[in-house]
Symmetry: C2
Subunit: 419 residues, 2 copies
């Protein structure tokens, strides 16, 4: 189960460790942030729950093993390796920063300590699942900040990189501060508030916009959000105003959102619909949201899709997963501009700075240790926190952890010169 | 099964159609390309097989339906709707361009003709699965073109937006012309060639690079690719040269790839290793590949990751899914800069131009009709082609379909003025 959901080289290395009698040597790998994504001065960690689920359930099925046997890369590998894969499970320890933690360039995110083969195979999956959700949570946080207290709702599944990415992206967006998602499966699986009413096809399916609006109110009552721009946003808003309650509000999805929201607000107010809200959507990002807020546009809620679901201006981040220790020997990589630091590490967070230290160092006064045990001897160290708790932790982290220098401890510096 | 993997508004609209007695009215939705992705003058369609699998298997489970009942948006909806969901399946017809087809802005990709409710619900999933794979196939095609006959291998799962996106992205990259992938599950599921040997951790896990290289050859034989940049690329290459065969080649993953590949080639040649190949990797995109080729760097194969797996410079595309007809009445949307065209359509491809026409028009002499029946009455119209066939069709499309004007037929223009 998911055993093959990794780069082939993880499996050829696993075979190599096994064939040369080293697969049971204990090693530590570290997942860390080499570079922040473009346009970012921090990231907000998300995706840990899925990373842990993967480690706890990592198995190889019979057909998967049979497939590996057919590959030329395994032609010299002994039958004993494939037998070993049948019983494979992750038995190691994992330390990680909690979801919702703000992190900076150069900082460790997770350490995986296990027999060499068990720690090697998860590299690909862990990098993908942690960096993707981290990108989306971070993008959401930037949008929520610009919205200055107005709701930001995640609408982006149709632009996500597979529908499955839509589900987990919506989870991450909620951690980043979005108040709800349009993704129904995310609501079902994670208990996140879901929203949605009707699209243009609803309006077009009726002979008149008037009838479409009436029928929607009949079905959705106070949850009705009328999408007013199918033909003309102002005409549509007038129709909404003349129909009156029940409804939650209207949605503007095209055109000049500043001008349209002002006109719509005036139309609604003059009909006495002061409580009727205005949602805006349509290719919004944090810059456009900030501009709308700065302009004083009377928008109560923002629906964001494409830019959030793909982290459009920064769709990747430079996280790495490197061997830092094997059988007590510290290791590092010296590649040009791509060096890695030796030894299992801890991140000490002070109010005004972070210190990357060796895991063996005591926590200094005034600091907290960011990496916590999450899996011990192959079992969960503690139940994963629920999403509202993670979302609150993220909000606190965003509020209290400012930009900061990231230093190395003296012990780490000494080790770096030695290795 | 996957019933909730959609935006909530598709389901509230479905409830609305049902409650107002319209869910069984036949309608046609069209998925089309409103705007090409940034930096693109065409796209290469991919993802159709997964889209069809979804439609054929779309169901709602008991727990999914129970969840919907708890949502405030469904509080006014009758029990009959939820009963109806239990038996829901897609019974309509689908016409689509084959995977591997080059397409341009304004062109239809797929039409879905079904009872209103059945055609509405799939919007979100279809958009996501088709646009994602299309983005990756297109990005791959751009890289392969720049590689001018050298192999391009897909390495990007660790940067994909979820590990699942890595699997389908690798499928799309193969359609776009990549020769292989590092994603083992993609190889298993789709029969695509997989490659992979060892990463830096393999080298670091040994006391000396010499021993790491020897052991890898022992395990992988002629499939060995030595990653030489863990400590120093030139020293590493000298070690490979002194060890000699068996091996496939070396991989350079950092530094000045032009200078390093020349030095490495000279070292290998002077050791008589003329058949030993050089692979280059490390944040490559089509521009860098083109520059390397133009410089005459002796690189035999390119490994590409981040930029390919995320379509980094263009991580989204403006595809839309719009109602074009209901019960014989043609529909269109007039929103500012976001208008849609009425009526079920066909795409006629001439050697030098494309014409978007009504589906009812006869195929003009000299043209081929691009959209083909793929699902009829809820069942596959024909088996999906295998991936090598799709890849060949893509290569032919890339070779023969140049940039071209996209016109509307006279009948479509007439209809546009009428609606």
């Amino acid at each position: 189960m998911n055993g093959l959901l990794t780069d082939l080289y993880e499996l050829t290395m696993a075979a190599g460790y096994f064939e040369t009698g080293r697969s049971a040597q204990w090693a530590t790998f570290e997942l860390s942030i080499r570079r922040l994504p473009r346009n970012r001065d921090y990231v907000l960690l998300a995706g840990l729950e899925q990373a842990l689920e993967y480690l706890l359930n990592l198995r190889f099925t019979g057909p998967e093993i049979d497939y590996l046997r057919t590959l030329p890369q395994f032609s010299l590998v002994s039958a004993a390796f494939f037998e070993h894969l049948r019983d494979f499970r992750f038995t190691g320890d994992v330390f990680a920063a909690p979801e919702g933690t703000m992190l900076f360039a150069g900082e460790p995110v997770m350490t995986v300590r296990a027999p060499l083969m068990e720690a090697q195979i998860p590299e690909t999956y862990l990098l993908s699942t942690l960096t993707f959700q981290t990108l989306i949570a971070t993008k959401a946080a930037r949008m929520v900040r610009q919205a200055a207290g107005r709701d930001v709702v995640e609408f982006g599944t149709r632009r996500a990189h597979t529908p499955q990415a839509g589900v987990l992206g919506a989870r991450a967006a909620y951690i980043g501060g979005c108040s709800a998602t349009s993704n129904t499966q995310t609501g079902f699986r994670f208990g996140i508030p879901v929203v949605g009413t009707a699209g243009h096809s609803w309006v077009m399916s009726y002979l008149t916009e008037q009838e479409a609006f009436q029928k929607l109110q009949q079905v959705l009552g106070v949850n009705t959000v009328q999408l007013v721009d199918t033909y003309d946003s102002i005409e549509g808003t007038r129709r909404v105003a003349s129909l009156g309650p029940p409804l939650w509000g209207i949605r503007l999805d095209s055109g000049d959102l500043v001008a349209l929201s002002r006109q719509a607000r005036a139309i609604l107010d003059s009909a006495g619909l002061h409580a009727t809200k205005i949602m805006a959507s349509g290719d919004l990002d944090e810059t456009k949201i900030g501009d709308l807020i700065a302009s004083g546009a009377p928008i109560d809620s923002f629906g964001v899709g494409t830019e959030l679901a793909t982290s459009g201006d920064a769709p990747s981040m430079g996280a790495i997963y490197k061997l830092v220790e094997v059988e007590g020997r510290y290791t590092a990589k010296h590649s040009e501009n791509k060096a890695s630091l030796p030894g299992p590490k801890q991140l000490f967070r002070f109010p005004d700075r972070d210190v990357v230290a060796l895991a063996s160092e005591p926590v200094p006064p005034g600091a907290t240790a960011v990496l916590e045990p999450v899996i011990l001897k192959g079992a969960l160290a503690a139940a994963s926190p629920d999403l509202p708790s993670i979302r609150r932790a993220a909000a606190k982290s965003l509020r209290t952890v400012g930009p900061r220098p990231v230093d190395y401890s003296d012990a780490l510096k000494t080790l770096m010169t030695q290795v």
